[in-house]
């Protein structure tokens, strides 16, 4: 379809896109600006895009202010990776079952998954605390991994299912006629074809795991050594003042390795996001 836009309309579209993205990215830009300025200048209210006092000093000082920072970054990534790995192991067969098999309470449980997500944030923290305590998992990595897995499984099933449904049914029937079992078909036919979808869902789960760990960490863990970064950032809040600039620098640094990974996966992500049904 051709959209013939005048030059003015085109400019309008670009401007609107720009404002929209700016709105979404505002907090990041603010983070970056704060991290680059010395503490003493932070409270001046004037907003400028570029200032002459920008420096990387905070990126050096932060390792001193919070000595365990490196450990926190590692913990964050370790927890997110563990949650993602465990979640995917459960999600792949479950999503396949939801995509292909008929079983009792299928639609109801799929809807129920959505309901579980409603409680993610807060309401469930207290009962979860009780469950984790009785399992003896408080103050261990498990305290941050198990709830993450539990909450991300429904989302993962939900997302992956739609990718698996795009794989033509005849491919599986052909394997079945040739004597392949469900598991053999899943392993040799379905999973290889679902790789773009698996990458997208894996990424989404990872992001979810990263975002959720803060709440679980402050609620279920008080051991410093296994604290993830978002919780560790609170150490920048001192008795007398808070080194905002170092905190922002630490937050950006912690996310950097993950961002690089995404950049590396970008090609596959785009392929997965734009994938239609598998063509032969």
């Amino acid at each position: 379809m051709i959209d013939r836009l005048s030059l003015l309309q085109k400019l309008g579209v670009y401007a609107a896109t720009f404002v929209f993205l700016l709105f979404l990215l505002m907090p990041f830009i603010e983070m970056l600006r704060v991290s680059l300025r010395p503490m003493s200048h932070l409270m001046t209210a004037d907003f400028t895009w570029w200032s002459e006092d920008f420096s990387l000093q905070a990126y050096r000082d932060m390792w001193v202010t919070v000595p365990l920072l490196g450990r926190y970054i590692f913990n964050s990534i370790f927890i997110a990776v563990s949650v993602t790995a465990i979640t995917m192991v459960v999600v792949i067969p479950a999503a396949y079952a939801y995509a292909r098999l008929e079983f009792p309470f299928k639609a109801l449980s799929l809807g129920g998954f959505l309901a579980v997500n409603m409680f993610t944030g807060a309401v469930l923290l207290i009962p979860l605390y009780r469950v984790l305590r009785s399992l003896g998992m408080l103050n261990t990595y498990w305290a941050m991994i198990v709830p993450g897995v539990a909450f991300l499984i429904p989302t993962g099933i939900w997302l992956l299912r739609s990718y698996l449904e795009k794989i033509p049914r005849e491919l599986e029937e052909a394997a079945f006629v040739d004597g392949a079992s469900r598991l053999y078909t899943l392993r040799r036919v379905v999973i290889p074809l679902a790789v773009p979808g698996l990458i997208v869902v894996g990424t989404a789960v990872f992001i979810g795991a990263y975002a959720q760990q803060f709440l679980f960490a402050i609620t279920f863990n008080n051991v410093r050594e296994i604290q993830p970064l978002p919780a560790g950032l609170f150490e920048f809040i001192g008795y007398q003042d808070t080194t905002w600039n170092e905190m922002m620098a630490a937050a950006l640094t912690g996310v950097l390795p993950v961002m690089l990974l995404f950049l590396f996966l970008q090609k596959y992500l785009v392929a997965g996001l734009t994938a239609g049904a598998v063509k032969e």
């Binding site: 033509p168 005849e170 491919l171 029937e173 052909a174 394997a175 079945f176 006629v177 040739d178 004597g179 392949a180 053999y184 040799r188 036919v189 290889p192 074809l193 598998v278 063509k279 032969e280």
Partner: protein, 365 residues
């Protein structure tokens, strides 16, 4: 290689009945085509034979052995799917080898069997390619290759040519006929295209609304359709049906009045007919010629070189179609008289059953 017997197969989805009491005996090395309009149950029947769906009742026997409860691989069948169902991430070689990999055959044996299949199908130089790099006809051949490596007793084809264009379809039709002779195998083939059925089958099963309308050779179906449905389904352009009234019955046939007043005596078995009955006279377009008989107003004339297909309407709105000589001197918009030989007529009673023709080509094709 094998006979295939279906005994009172029925299939319902919930309260919807898809197949009602299918009985069928397919001979060894026979090429049988299931044909019918969409929704007639032909694909479901094939999937039941394959073991992809379970029949609600009834038994399936291959070489006399009841396989109703067996898994597809244990039935000794192979199936070629409408979409070919090739694995896009595997090479042609691995696609053909897939059933052998499932069966965990040693590499040497796999190589030998794939090589033999590739020889038969002229795919030797394509083994390293992915399906996406092949043309439609080549994909079709790979799908057939995957089905023959296991030496199945019965081959099942689910509309294998419907994704090809017209020219290639004609070519593959010939290839499949030749392959069937080469493999000397029993084949069951599903299509909605009566031309495929007529050109390829030893015998044709015409299905309609989950029932078998007729099972016979192509020429039997063409010259002796058992019902009005078969008569209009087989043959292109479709048979014309002209309503008529019985005025007399006798040993020499049925005497009827056609619209417009023509009276004809048609040589059919009229024993069940009564004076005054409403019947339909069926006449194929290729049996209509210019002359005194019924009259129609010519709407469209399609000139196809050797023949010209004339489409028109009778006074009461009934549509007629006639295949005339290419040089027929008729023009669109004018009234045309059409006649036919009484021996070429088919007669159907009010329930759509045929009255047996007395004079007609022999039953053998």
């Amino acid at each position: 290689m094998a006979t295939l017997d279906l005994q009172t197969i029925t299939k319902s989805f919930g309260s919807a009945s898809v197949l009602t009491g299918i009985d069928l005996a397919i001979r060894d090395k026979e090429f049988v085509v299931f044909v019918g309009p969409s929704g007639c149950g032909k694909s479901t029947l094939l999937r039941i034979i394959a073991g992809l769906e379970a029949a609600t009742t009834g038994r399936i026997l291959i070489e006399g052995v009841d396989v109703s409860m067996a898994a597809p691989v244990d039935r000794g069948i192979a199936m070629v799917f409408q979409s070919y169902a090739l694995y896009p991430h595997l090479s042609v070689y691995e696609n053909i080898a897939f059933p052998l990999r499932v069966a965990k055959l040693p590499e040497a044996e796999v190589k030998a069997k794939v090589g033999r299949a590739a020889d038969i199908l002229q795919l030797n130089d394509k083994l390293g390619l992915k399906p996406g790099q092949l043309s439609g006809g080549q994909r079709q051949r790979v799908a057939i290759g995957r089905s023959i490596v296991r030496n199945p007793k019965v081959f099942l084809f689910d509309e294998p040519l419907s994704n090809l264009d017209a020219a290639l379809r004609g070519e593959m039709r010939v290839e499949l006929s030749a392959l069937q002779r080469q493999l000397d195998a029993t084949m069951v083939y599903v299509t909605h295209d009566q031309i495929e059925a007529m050109t390829m089958a030893h015998r044709i099963v015409v299905l309609n609304k989950g029932r078998i309308e007729q099972f016979g050779t192509p020429m039997e179906l063409y010259h002796h359709p058992a019902t009005k449905f078969v008569a209009t389904f087989i043959g292109q352009p479709n048979m014309n049906l002209i309503p008529a009234t019985v005025v007399d019955t006798g040993a020499e046939g049925l005497t009827v009045d056609l619209p417009g007043g023509t009276r004809m005596t048609l040589p059919v078995d009229a024993s069940a007919a009564r004076k005054g009955d409403a019947v339909e006279v069926g006449i194929r377009p290729e049996n209509l010629t210019l002359g005194q008989g019924v009259s129609m107003r010519l709407r469209v004339l399609e000139r196809l070189g050797g023949t010209a297909i004339a489409y028109g309407q009778m006074e009461d709105g009934l549509k007629l179609c006639a295949a005339l000589h290419g040089d027929a001197a008729v023009h669109e918009g004018e009234a045309v008289g059409l006649t036919f030989a009484s021996a070429d007529a088919h007669v159907f009673d009010a329930t759509g059953q045929v009255m047996r023709r007395q004079q007609a080509p022999a039953r053998a094709a």
